[in-house]
Amino acid sequence: MQANEKIEKILRIVEALRAVIGRSSDPFNVDVKGQIEALKRLLPEWETLDEILMDVEAMALLSKVVELQERWVRYQASSLYVDPLLVELKITASTVDRLAEVFAGSWHPILKVEQISKTELMRSINYWNGLTPLDRRYLEEFGQERELATLDTRRLMEMKILTEEELNRRIEEVHRQLESILDIQGRVDYWDFIEGKDSNETISRAVILSHIVSSGLAGIEIKPLEEKIYIVKQTSSREPKSIAITVNRPHRGETR
């Protein structure tokens, strides 16, 4: 057998095994015995270290497949096993209300207290007292003072980062999303709404939302005791005021 042919053969085995493991498809689709016999036939022909390492990798993947087969059998024997097709059928045939009932009927929420403790408060005060002022930190880090600058829409358009059509399209898209949520729920958590798939999208959504709110198409409601900020439908009776919300985390996690 040609060297290339041998390597291609083992590469095909490795790729096939990786695909089964990665896609979590049925591990019984792999003929473990047949693959081991194929590897056994190839074994005497390996000469270089790379070839032997590939053989080792194939064996390791095969053992992983055997482990998955064991788990699969255990799972099918467990009370949680239901035919996926039956589940799909039930999901397709159920109303949204019924599906919500199904979730609520099996949901046991976790309890937690969301309140700052005396210890946390003392720790925060100590941290604040020891924190170097921002301008001094900039000086230490960059060696010169940085001045604040404004990057408005006009400037972004001049810099060819944004076009007017693109901006309008994005504002309309975010506004449409917001309207749909507010029509159903009446209000929505600010941080939930602005969160995008990455930090750029989050900041972009926050900026667009501020434009929507400034235009009077929605309002902001702050609940200081709950430490919550909600986006609500705009009411004409409210007095206009300026609110600053700092989006200082690139991508929000559990805490802010």
């Binding site: 979590s24 159920s94 046991h108």
Partner: protein
């Protein structure tokens, strides 16, 4: 100090630890309880469980292999995480003020039941396709991001979705599947 008074103090301490907000996830690790209230923390958790039971709450212990009882191996209990949860599930009306709309709850029910039927993991595209049959695309993406951030789902680098830590704690997957399969035909859409 009497033994009863000592237990009462430790029960309060355990309750505080379990309810205090943490940076990443709620609950507390077994070894943290051991460090704070001593080696006999299993008996304290048992006593706390009895008190919580009167209020319709319960302690849930989740280890790497899933839910554990207080009779599990000490090493497993030390590594497990302890949570206080509602003993009985809510109904839709009671659950709504939690910030989940009916659409959100339905989307989570669909996702979790689908993942459960697929042994806990499936390509994100498959799940999103299924959700898009009943929800607009943006709402599906928004819900996905939210469920992942809250820990209900876990997205891997290979773009597969798995059941997240919060679902393992909060959702009784067996009940979820039973309720879904028990949906009477008259409640189903034609």
């Amino acid at each position: 100090m009497s033994q009863e008074a000592d237990v009462a103090i430790k029960v309060k301490k355990a309750l505080q630890l379990m309810l205090t907000p943490k940076a990443r996830a709620p609950g507390v690790k077994g070894w943290e309880l051991k460090r704070a209230i001593g080696k006999d923390y299993y008996t304290i958790i048992e006593a706390l469980g009895a008190e919580l039971d009167k209020l319709g709450l319960t302690v849930k212990i989740v280890g790497e292999s899933g839910e554990l009882s207080l009779r599990a191996e000490p090493e497993q209990l030390d590594d497990a995480r302890y949570y206080i949860i509602f003993k009985e599930p809510l109904n839709v009306r009671e659950a709504s003020p939690s910030g989940m709309s009916i659409d959100d709850m339905a989307a989570l029910a669909v996702t979790l039941s689908y993942l459960t039927s697929k042994r806990g993991r499936a390509p994100a595209k498959e799940v999103e396709k299924m959700l898009r049959e009943k929800l607009p695309k943006w709402k599906v993406e928004w819900n996905m991001r939210r469920f992942i951030r809250k820990g209900y789902l876990l997205r891997s680098d290979d773009d597969t979705l798995a059941i997240g830590w919060r679902s393992l704690v909060e959702v009784d997957l067996k009940s979820l599947m039973t309720l879904l399969l028990a949906t009477p035909p008259k409640e189903q859409e034609p």
